[in-house]
Symmetry: C2
């Protein structure tokens, strides 16, 4: 049996810096042109021509201020700030491409689900079914405060709200307008059959939405759903909602275990193992020889801005890393006095004898470094562990993607691991070729559909 | 002294029907393709080539349900429903044009000002300063209910909220990032000087927003501001906030009086008469002869869907017109028993001896019908009354705009009334050539700017 194809997303952000902080200064790095539509359109066209599946736009919707208890370092080094909206970027890129998918990140704190659902439908129409939604609940405190909330709700509470948020969206997108509600009859002038458009009458803990949805059904109705959940509660959310799950596992073994967990949860909910595709991320550094690739990777590492990496990591750990000497070996720290998340993140780096600065550089993102053959081998290893696709990061944009497309994609295609051309159909059909453009019947969102009255056999 | 140039906007909606209900069925009317980006890009390019200033996208963000106490007729005839989001449409049109402005309507009920401000900044970046914002407070009850509000707040309360909403937006767009906050120094890697990015610490009746703004300053900072207020409170809101004011006056005399009122309010606030441009709307029907134009206009009128017009008018009047016989002359109604708004709207039509149906057709929008010369004469009359520009409606799109551009624009250009080519600069500079890209110092929003420390003379 041949291998399944690997799904390729470019992992990006409408901001001055995404993961490889400090590299925006590189000549030719168009990240510095993130406000310029031309740069984005160029990238989208490169990705489409290079057989990528999608552009995945992350969005922290917040400013990091755990490090030094201040936002100053985040601003200074451009750690996710300035940061622009991803949703309004999409239509220009959709018009300049035919097959590329677009995953937009939008947090439950950012927008009321009623208005957001209309935006999703509009984007799904304008892209002809090429939109995906990365559901997040914002782990940055400033996100919540700026939206009028006193502060950060507890983890469990955010997931409860996220579940209800998704439910409102499903009700609007799946359950409000029946498939044959839009008549579009030019002879009578009737556009919609009102008897087939329904209120959703949602009354919940967080939202009260009578409906109906204001927009008519789009090609996918619900966009392709992405989610990244690492805690037990997060995994169960992923199992319930995600069609694309993002996992950060450090090794293929841990990825396999994470994937098994999520699939077990999903099976309990009546979903099938292949109803969820799993993604992880990496920066691929390709060279004609391994030495050349390693030298390129070292040059990238040296240019990383350590303090910027500390800013982003402090926020993630909710622990201010400012007090620690970045150049002291990690094993000079009393690990027993550090928080659990810190120990979990840095234990392996300590064993390697790294300093905090070295650990920061190393953990900015996973690296896959080598010749095209070596890289393809690594992709196969991760595929064997159950990873279906990659959110590929970059040192420069579009430079890193161009190198990957010219250097690695041909080898992956030779092995049958990457598509030679895009399939027809919506984003969902491209990822799940056996299904249709809509959520499959096993997905929780499908439960909110109106079942048409059976037509009596004649 | 020559005449000032007239500003031309196409008045549109991301929906199946905007003002001329029933006409979506016309062959070649691409309104029926409102979900298709190609149709929008085609329109934008036609408008830009035809020397229009902007595409003005209205958005009711609500479904009409006053008529018959039901949404059924609105759905049946497509009266503003299905209705899609205008904001996510813009970037594709901006990438396909160079000079055309884009006015997006967004209601204060629709989105929290913090997230909305970031969307505005993003759009202003992506369009290189060609975005405008039409501030509305939603007069459709379903808008408020679906966003989790019990119902429709009182008129005065909505304006109070709109004032605060605008204030939050100004604080974020004007007062958070100083002009020289973004350093973008590739040598040191410093992107932003954190000492020049400020919290806004907004604490008001409706919103609590610490800030800072997440996005760096865009070409215009605050988009060009449009507003339509007809009540006394509305006029004072316009006088305070608007740079483009939309007025619905039925005659040039009433327009002149409305404009005088708003300008008097504005003067009290320290603004100058020419700080506000005034717009009204019309459907222009052009013919080689007056008879030809009148015949075209009659054919349009006959195709209007009377019930659809009653749906939209009932919502506007907050009075169900269903009970009235559309084919009975208006003077058979007991006007003393009708509400004030109804009498104000229909008194003149009664005097003309029209039926309700005839009045509906006539009042769908103002018509300017005739030869290019006659139309240009009418434009001059309205200009003499103080009208600076037009939101031009359409019977078919882009057909009506093509006819206007080919038939009327050359005559207007011959008279020096319409630009021959676009000026350089942002949307604001194109409309106010004497000023810069930013809000002028007399505008309320400018009061939220941080004044840089004066630099000592050397």
């Amino acid at each position: 049996m041949g291998r399944r194809r690997i799904i390729l997303n470019a992992f990006h952000m409408n901001s001055i810096s995404h993961l490889m902080h400090g590299l925006w200064v590189r000549p030719g790095n168009r990240q510095a042109d993130y406000t310029d539509l031309d740069a984005w359109v160029e990238l989208a066209q490169i990705l489409e021509k290079g057989c990528f599946d999608a552009l995945f736009l992350a969005d922290p919707f917040g400013i990091h201020e755990v490090y030094e208890g201040s936002r100053d370092a985040a601003l200074r080094w451009g750690v996710h700030v300035p940061q622009n909206d991803p949703l309004v970027l999409v239509s220009a890129l959709a018009h300049a491409t035919k097959h590329l998918g677009f995953v937009v990140t939008s947090s439950i704190v950012q927008e009321h689900p009623f208005n957001f659902a209309r935006r999703l439908t509009t984007l799904d129409h304008l892209t002809k079914g090429r939109i995906g939604w990365n559901i997040v609940s914002s782990w940055v405190e400033t996100s919540w405060k700026n939206m009028g909330h006193g502060g950060f709700p507890p983890h469990e509470e955010r997931y409860a709200q996220a579940d209800e948020y998704a439910e409102v969206v499903y009700k609007l997108l799946e359950g409000s307008w029946e498939d044959d509600s839009v008549v579009r009859d030019r002879a009578t002038g009737i556009y919609t059959d009102p008897s087939k458009v329904h209120s959703i009458a949602h009354e919940g803990r967080f939202y009260s939405v009578p409906g109906p949805h204001f927009a008519e059904p789009s090609p996918q109705r619900t966009p392709l759903l992405f989610q990244a959940g690492h805690s037990e509660r997060g995994k169960s959310f992923t199992a319930r909602h995600a069609e694309g799950a993002f996992i950060g596992a450090p090794t293929p073994q841990l990825a396999a275990s994470h994937i098994r967990d999520v699939r077990a949860h999903a099976a309990e909910l009546g979903r099938r193992a292949d109803d969820i595709t799993f993604f992880t991320s990496a920066l691929v550094v390709v060279g004609g020889t391994e030495e050349e690739a390693q030298a390129k990777a070292r040059a990238i590492d040296e240019q990383l801005q350590v303090e910027a990496l500390l800013v982003s990591r402090s926020d993630q750990l909710k622990f201010d890393l400012k007090g620690l000497d970045p150049d002291a070996p990690l094993d000079t720290l009393d690990f027993s006095r550090q928080p659990t998340d810190f120990r979990a993140k840095f234990e392996a780096f300590r064993a390697e004898g790294l300093t905090l600065a070295q650990a920061m550089r190393k953990s900015a993102t996973r690296r896959i470094i080598g010749t095209p053959e070596q890289i393809a081998d690594t992709f196969e290893t991760w595929q064997d562990a159950g990873v279906d696709g990659w959110n590929l990061s970059y040192a420069t944009t579009p430079g890193t993607f161009v190198e990957f497309i010219e250097g690695v994609v041909p080898e992956l295609q030779r092995r049958g691991l990457v598509q030679i051309r895009h399939a027809e159909g919506t984003f969902r059909e491209k990822l799940f070729p056996q299904g249709g453009p809509r959520l499959n019947d096993r997905h929780v969102g499908a439960g909110f559909r109106r079942v048409a009255e059976p037509i009596a056999a004649e």
